[in-house]
Amino acid sequence: MICFFEKIGKKTLASFSKLGRATFFLIQVIKACLSVFLRPKLLLAQLYSIGVLSFMIITISGLFVGMVLGLQGFYILSDFGAEETLGLMVAASLVRELGPVISALLFAGRAGSALTAEIGLMKTTEQLSGMEMMAVDPIKRVIAPRFLAGFISMPILTTLFSSIGVIGGQIVGVIILGVDEGSYWSQMQANIDFQGDIINGVIKSIVFGVVISWIALFEGYDTIPTSEGVSRATTRTVVNSAFAILGLDFILTALMFGDI
């Protein structure tokens, strides 16, 4: 029994100390971000491997999610004879929720896990400590450009996801199921609010981008330098990112759209 409580105590202490290290890490990274702008090449390389290489998965998923929304939306709305509002339904669901959340989940799986594995391996093979001994700060040279790239990529990828999704909805709703094209777009234009919907969606995606990059980079940097350590850290990145995204999404939605 005592053993049980001792374990709980130890776990709690460990997670608090990890949270402390993670916070300290984030502060260091943010401070180092300024220096990245002096070396745009480093940032560009990361924008490519983190952002551009995620385009494919985001585009394809966005298309399918939009098509499913078109299909489901049509069946429900047509029961009420409200098919013309299909465009609004598809766009609102994408811009407010599905766009930011699903792109963030995909991003965590595609780019976040890769970041953790990369940084973790660099630590395991002493590349990070080698850099330190060469008087090169790994936080500035390696971590900060990746963090900034994640921060910049996420809103762009989310926008891409939602836009492609709207087109997917149109393909199914208008082209296949025969909803009137004019009303698909006009309902959307009339009722999607720039401030309330689009900006809020973008804010969500920026928050998710920061959180995913933070978790992924910290897990890699804090990994136990063995192959098992790296594999565990990679798993933790995906799992913790998913929790963080879904939890934060609820909080953000409540703050933005709810009357709480």
Partner: protein, 271 residues
């Protein structure tokens, strides 16, 4: 006057250093001096903390007690910026090489130059090729680190460590994994760097013969203590049991070959 002279003679001096890993005492109140322009070797059985000692000198680990002075500066009291300025003048050859795996050999050697200077690319090319030539691997400049053997990787790492012409170099096991020919070249190179450029060298090794060939002074570490020190000739004739055992390579003696453990028979028959 006397004192300051003596201080200036030592590029690195370690005083009353104690260091723990968890509850294990790795160093127990040891003091070592590394003279300017000399080759000093640290020898000792595997796992005594030779790599740890280099990391303490480089400021990557912090001692529990004692001080480490490099060029009369207390490494562990410098700010990060000051430490980095000092490290630009310290080369370190990691036991594993620690090459950056996403760029090729040439870029690895050019890495510190590009990070710390504004030298033009054509000049960098010349410097890098010269450094690679000196470790005999100019032909490998386009290879990626995963295409190198362990011994080659370590020589590339050496070329990288000397790319900024440091005032001192710490070599962690430079000889292991080298064939007799490249080993000879390495020994010669370390000697040349030392005599021509007056680079202070600290060599960590457990290779008695090769180290004795180039070292001016040797410290033998074991069990957290210095168990012997002196010039190679002095140590060869040292009467202490520790040093004799180490230089003759005997398993039995005061230096434990085994990592501390409970009794062998007891351990095996316990279950």
């Amino acid at each position: 006057m006397e004192v300051s002279n003596k201080k200036d003679q030592n590029l690195v001096s370690i005083e009353n250093l104690t260091f723990y890993r968890g509850n294990r005492k790795i160093f127990d109140d040891i003091s070592l001096n590394f003279q300017r322009g000399k080759v000093t070797a640290i020898m000792g059985p595997s796992g005594t903390g030779k790599t740890t000692l280099l990391k303490l000198i480089g400021g990557q680990l912090v001692p529990d007690r004692g001080t480490v002075l490099v060029d009369n500066k207390n490494v562990h009291q410098l700010t990060r910026a000051e430490l980095f300025i000092l490290r630009k003048r310290m080369g370190m050859l990691f036991q594993s090489g620690a090459l950056l795996t996403d760029i090729n050999v040439f870029d690895n050697v050019a890495f510190p130059i590009r990070e710390h200077t504004k030298i033009s690319e054509s000049m960098i090319r010349t410097i890098v090729l010269m450094k690679l030539e000196s470790v005999g691997l100019r032909g490998a400049s386009k290879l990626m680190p995963n295409e190198l053997s362990g011994g080659m990787a370590r020589r590339i790492a050496l070329a990288r460590a000397i790319s900024l012409d440091p005032m001192m170099i710490m070599y962690d096991e430079p000889f292991s994994g080298q064939d007799p020919i490249s080993l000879g070249t390495l020994v010669k190179l370390i000697k040349e760097l030392n005599s021509a450029l007056k680079i202070t060298s600290i060599i960590v090794s457990h290779d008695v013969q090769d180290t004795a060939r180039i070292a001016d002074y040797i410290y033998v570490l074991s069990g957290g203590k210095i168990v012997g020190e002196g010039t190679p000739d002095q140590l060869k004739n040292d009467s202490s049991k520790f040093v004799k055992q180490f230089f003759k390579g005997e398993a039995d003696g005061p230096v434990q070959f085994h990592y501390p453990a409970k009794d062998y028979h007891q351990d095996i028959f316990e279950s």
